[in-house]
Structures are given as structure tokens and as C-alpha cells.
Symmetry: none
Subunit: 244 residues, 2 copies
């Protein structure tokens, strides 16, 4: 049972930085760390050395081949990024995000936070998997944080939000929020229908358009029930076409 957000590092490079991330997490009471494709391999002595004894976090690390695998069992995902992506995305500060996560986790939602690697951060496909973007409101002329510091600020706000007051919640009417895998499954089926219907004018634009469509559905935070409804809509529209 996860009662705290999961930290997910995508394509991190140096073991030392992973160790510093583990330390920053444990400073703030977070313990669940997932890593997608660590460049320098895992386990890592450099990570252990830099973790200042955050053994609990280091020993519990789980590895994933893809970002999608790493978030598949989660209901709600945040992506941290410092640069605009030209996507229609809800952007929150770490403080606002932490308050949201408190409410979500109290409702039994499984939450994860994506952090990109040292070189260039998250790619657009990773960001598209997330429900919202976390942006730290730093000095606009000098806002590049190192990986461990980004994790620290977000984890710190999580810790500080411990007793934040309820301001907003989503009434889900007894249906659970859909998992990322359920949303992905729907998107695959939709993409298939769109391919058959000649929706994409050129193959080149296909990935970007699909990403935008995913963003729209994701923003609605569909429940499991709603995902079933969306599948039904695809079936019905295709039947309607047949009759014409």
C-alpha cells in the first residue's frame, strides 16, 4: 500500500545523483524510488556512497524498461519540468501539487512524480503520460536545478503539506480513477480506429496529435467507468459509420 507519492527517475545518468536523490527523499520521509533505464546500471556503489545512509530507499529501488511500465499501476502522475512543452497541460507549483497529492492519496489514489535525467529532462512522450506538470517558480533567468535539488523541493513540499487543509477534491461517485494502463489501452484502441478512418493527414504528425489527444482525455481524470464508456463510444461510432 502506497501512502506517499512514488518518485520515478527517467534516464538518470550518474549513480551519485541517484544517491543524492535517495538522500533528499528520505530527508522528507519518502521511500519508494523507481528508475527507468539508469545509464550507469544498477545497483550502483556511487549511489550508495552519495546516499548518506539512505539505505531504505536504495535497497527498495525497482527498475523499469519504459516510463509507461513505471507508471502503469498508478492512477495519477505528475511530471516535473522547467521548460514549456507546447502541450495543453495543467501546471502546478510544488506546493499546490503537494496539497493535491495529499487529498488524492487520502482517497486511495496511487500517485507518482516523474523526474527527467540530468541531460535534458523528460521528453514530451513522458510528459504526455502525466496528468499535470509541476514547475518550480524559480528565477526565470536562472532556473536549472540539478536532479537531487528538484527532487528535494518537491519532496519537501510534500512533507510540509502534511496538514494542509482541504480545498478541492474530485467527487468520483464510487468509481475508481482509471489506472494509466487502462487509459493507455483506450488510447491504443482509439489510435487504431483513427488509423482505419484516415484521421492522420501525414505519418509525421501522428505521434504529436495522439499526444495532444491523450492530454485532453487525461486532463479529465477519467474513472474506470468512464474509460469503459469511452470504449463503448468507439464501438458505437464505428457501427454508426457502417449504417451510412
Amino acid at each position: 500500500m502506497t501512502e506517499q507519492p512514488v518518485i520515478i527517475l527517467v534516464d538518470p545518468q550518474l549513480g551519485e545523483n541517484i544517491g543524492m536523490v535517495a538522500r533528499a527523499m528520505l530527508n522528507c520521509g519518502l521511500t519508494e524510488l523507481r528508475i527507468v533505464r539508469p545509464r550507469d546500471g544498477w545497483p550502483s556503489q556511487a549511489a550508495i556512497d552519495a546516499s548518506a545512509g539512505a539505505v531504505e530507499v536504495i535497497d527498495g529501488v525497482t527498475l523499469y524498461e519504459t516510463t509507461l511500465d513505471a507508471v502503469a499501476d498508478l492512477n495519477r502522475v505528475y511530471a516535473t519540468t522547467g521548460r514549456p512543452r507546447g502541450m495543453v497541460t495543467r501546471i502546478v507549483t510544488p506546493r499546490h501539487g503537494a496539497e493535491e497529492m495529499r487529498r488524492e492519496i487520502a482517497d486511495g489514489t496511487k500517485v507518482g512524480i516523474l523526474f527527467g535525467g540530468e541531460r535534458s529532462g523528460l521528453n514530451n512522450d513522458d510528459v504526455a503520460l502525466a496528468d499535470a506538470v509541476i514547475e518550480v517558480p524559480l528565477n526565470p533567468d536562472f532556473k536549472s536545478l540539478n536532479l537531487a535539488q528538484a527532487v528535494l523541493l518537491v519532496s519537501y513540499e510534500w512533507r510540509m503539506s502534511q496538514d494542509a487543509t482541504l480545498g478541492e477534491r474530485l467527487e468520483t461517485n464510487e468509481s475508481e480513477p482509471a489506472s494509466k494502463a487502462e487509459l493507455d489501452n483506450f488510447m491504443t484502441r482509439l489510435a487504431d480506429g483513427l488509423d482505419k478512418g484516415g484521421f492522420f493527414k501525414s505519418p509525421a504528425m501522428r505521434p504529436g496529435v495522439l499526444r495532444n489527444i491523450r492530454n485532453l482525455f487525461k486532463r479529465g481524470q477519467p474513472t474506470e467507468q468512464e474509460i469503459r464508456t469511452l470504449h463503448g463510444i468507439i464501438v458505437a461510432l464505428q457501427k454508426a459509420g457502417k449504417k451510412n
Copy 2:
């Protein structure tokens, strides 16, 4: 004239850590750094390398022989520490401290924040020079922060106290949010397709189901561009059905 708190490092050891402090400061818009007895000397190439281009801070560093010298011109001093000192001292969180500093600085008070070296933090004489202690409310079982991270958290709270920074916004990538009429228009067309495709098991449930579908799309706060995309999706799915 100082309109922001001065960061003061007492007995820092590694130039690399000083560089990371400079970076964390500038991330948060702070530029005035004072150093008392840097062990490895000053200027420091290691500091420059680790500062990620925070030249403005590095170039402005001033050096002092004693902590007292470094705070002599200030009116109000905070000391950061993670362990109790057996002194009667007012202790504030970084957040509370930042709000205090805003008020003090607005009144023309000159404020500084002391940070101890990597090895053992501030000594008791240094702490005794301060008006209040800043303690970050971290995991009590694992609360040792490295120097740059301590500076980052305190500087971050200074920055966050600037204004009621907008907690949340929607990046819409130049497309306007759709009007209610545009959404309604889409819903009408979708309902028509669903009717043709035999989506509704009974006429009685039709209004309620349509309302639920509308809620899902509404929650996503679609833009005008996205509503056009949704129309395109209906067309494409119907075409796909025709081909089967």
C-alpha cells in the same frame, strides 16, 4: 542597499559545495554571498565549475575572518541548524522565517542567514549571534541535509514568500478555451453518432449517460483546437466503421 537576505557560509570546506550554494541562491534570485574562513581558499575554480554559471554570485563573494565581522552591518540574523543547542532560542521554519524576513526587509532592516560548514554546522558561539534559529522540519530520523540543499530550501522559501505565486495554471499553447456553445455543438454531434450506433440500451438512460459523458469532456477543459480534433475523431471513427 540590500533588499534580500545575505547568505553567510561559516567555515565551508569544499569549493564545489560553495559553487552549488551559489547556484541554489541564484535559482531563487539571491545574489549576496559572504564566506567566513573558506578552508580551501578563495577564489576557487571548483566553486566556479559547480556553480553552473552563477557568476553573478561567485564574483560578488566577500570574505571575512570571523562570523561577527560577517554580520556586523546587519540588523537581524538567522542561524540554520539541525540539532538542538540547549540555548533559549526562538526557532522558526524556513517558511515562517521567510515571511518574517519579507516584513523586516520591507522596513529597511538588513537581514542575514548563517549556514555552518559541512563537518559540524555552526558552533554555539555563531548560533548565539543570531536572533532566531531556522530549522527545516524534516524526517526526524534522517534530517542531515548537505550544505547546498539547506541553502536551497531556505532560499526557496524566501522566493515563495514573494507573492501569492499562482499555484496552478493551464498552459494552452495559444489555443483559446472552447466556449460552452462549442462544447455543446460537439456533444450534439456525438449524441447523434451514438444514436445511430445503437449506443443507448434504453431511451430512459440516454439523458443521464449523455450528462456523464459531457462531464468527462468538460473536466478536461478542452480548447477550441481540441474541440475541432474531437469532431475529426467522430468523422474518422465513422469512416473506419464503414470499411469493416
